[in-house]
């Protein structure tokens, strides 16, 4: 094999060795089979580039489910005998880079607990409005009215009159729409401890529901 000292090359030698750029690979001189191989290579690279983006996003899907955060950012009530007459605001945040999660609905069970240990169930609060996209690092706020059910508001009003301090505890189920929706439904339950001030809710697990004949299961922490 010929060794080349590039520092000592003369112009004629550069041309002889084909290093001057004039002897570029000419595709037309390649065999048709090699040309087709190149077409296959380029096609595979192109489609793989698109697939790589989707794969990279997918790899953050399960971390997004595990790390989805629900916070009670504000809760207040001015109870009377008919209604708790208040509201609660939840913030749902996707702290990962995954894009593709949509909150279909938010179902909440809540109770009012008092410092003396009394717990009064207040029924459900549901958000079933427009589905909300849970985009990376852009939190979604959901405000729900606290009404109460049955004799709950009346009991709460009486206890408050007696000097007891109410706290509000929520069990939240977030129902998600994901790319797996054709085969799998995903619900993430959270427990929000009794509070009167902002608090972070704890994810209890991830529940999977089978759709369309594919067997599913349950997962938890």
């Amino acid at each position: 094999m010929e060794k080349v000292d590039f520092a000592k090359l003369k112009l004629s030698e550069i041309r002889r060795l084909g290093l001057d750029g004039r002897s570029r690979m000419d595709l037309a001189t390649l065999s048709r089979r090699t040309q087709l191989t190149l077409v296959l290579l380029v096609g595979t690279i192109l489609i793989s580039s698109v697939a790589a983006l989707n794969t990279s996003n997918y790899q953050q899907f399960f971390p997004a489910l595990e790390q989805l955060q629900v916070k009670v950012v504000s809760v207040h009530a001015n109870a009377n005998s008919q209604s708790l007459n208040g509201s609660v605001t939840f913030t749902i945040k996707n702290p990962t880079g995954y894009s593709g999660l949509i909150m279909q609905s938010l179902l909440t069970n809540f109770t009012v607990t008092f410092t003396n240990g009394t717990t009064i169930p207040q029924g459900t609060l549901d958000y079933t409005g427009v589905p909300k996209k849970l985009n990376p690092t852009s939190p979604v706020n959901i405000t729900l009215l606290l009404v109460g059910s049955g004799t709950g508001p009346l009991q709460v009003t009486q206890l408050i009159k007696d000097g007891a301090i109410p706290q509000y505890a929520f069990s939240v189920n977030i129902i998600l729409t994901t790319f797996l929706d054709q085969v799998l439904g995903i619900t993430i339950p959270y427990q929000c401890p009794p509070t009167r001030s902002p608090i972070t809710c704890e994810e209890v697990g991830i529940f999977l529901t089978s759709h369309g004949g594919v067997s599913g299961g349950g997962g938890g922490r």
Binding site: T37, G43, S48, A51, L184, S215, G218
Partner: protein
């Protein structure tokens, strides 16, 4: 004797099948009309490069096996890497096995085989 170009064609064919599968499945859809066209295009090209009917059948089997295996590995990577801990990981394996089977069988499989053979026929005749 298997030429390097034939091995390369099978590897590229398999990679293309993986890419076509994950491009759709990770977005929540099964392969559609456009994808069937792409499966056909890759099958034709790979078959033409191989240019031998018998080798193309083996190449198709190897490419399809490689493609679906790679797609499955990419799909269950979170379970393999421990991001999804047991027992949830078993659900991920079962789920993706079913999804990939449904995505590949029957149309993409048949399209790839048929176009691969047609490509090999064209290759044998004209290349």
């Amino acid at each position: 004797m298997i030429a390097r170009q034939e091995v390369l064609a099978v590897l590229l064919w398999g990679t293309a099948i993986t890419s076509l599968l994950v491009r759709n499945l990770f977005q929540g859809s099964f392969p559609g009309l456009l994808d069937f066209g792409l499966f056909a295009a890759f099958g034709l090209t790979a078959g033409a490069v191989i240019s031998d009917l018998e080798k193309t059948i083996f190449g198709f089997a190897a490419g399809m096996a490689l493609g679906t295996f790679l797609a499955f590995i990419l799909a269950v990577l979170p379970a393999l890497a421990g991001v999804v801990p047991p027992p949830g990981d078993q659900t991920v394996y079962t789920l993706w096995f079913s999804i990939i089977f449904r995505a590949v069988f029957p149309l993409p499989l048949i399209i790839s085989l048929m176009t691969g053979l047609i490509g090999a026929g064209i290759g044998e005749t004209y290349l």
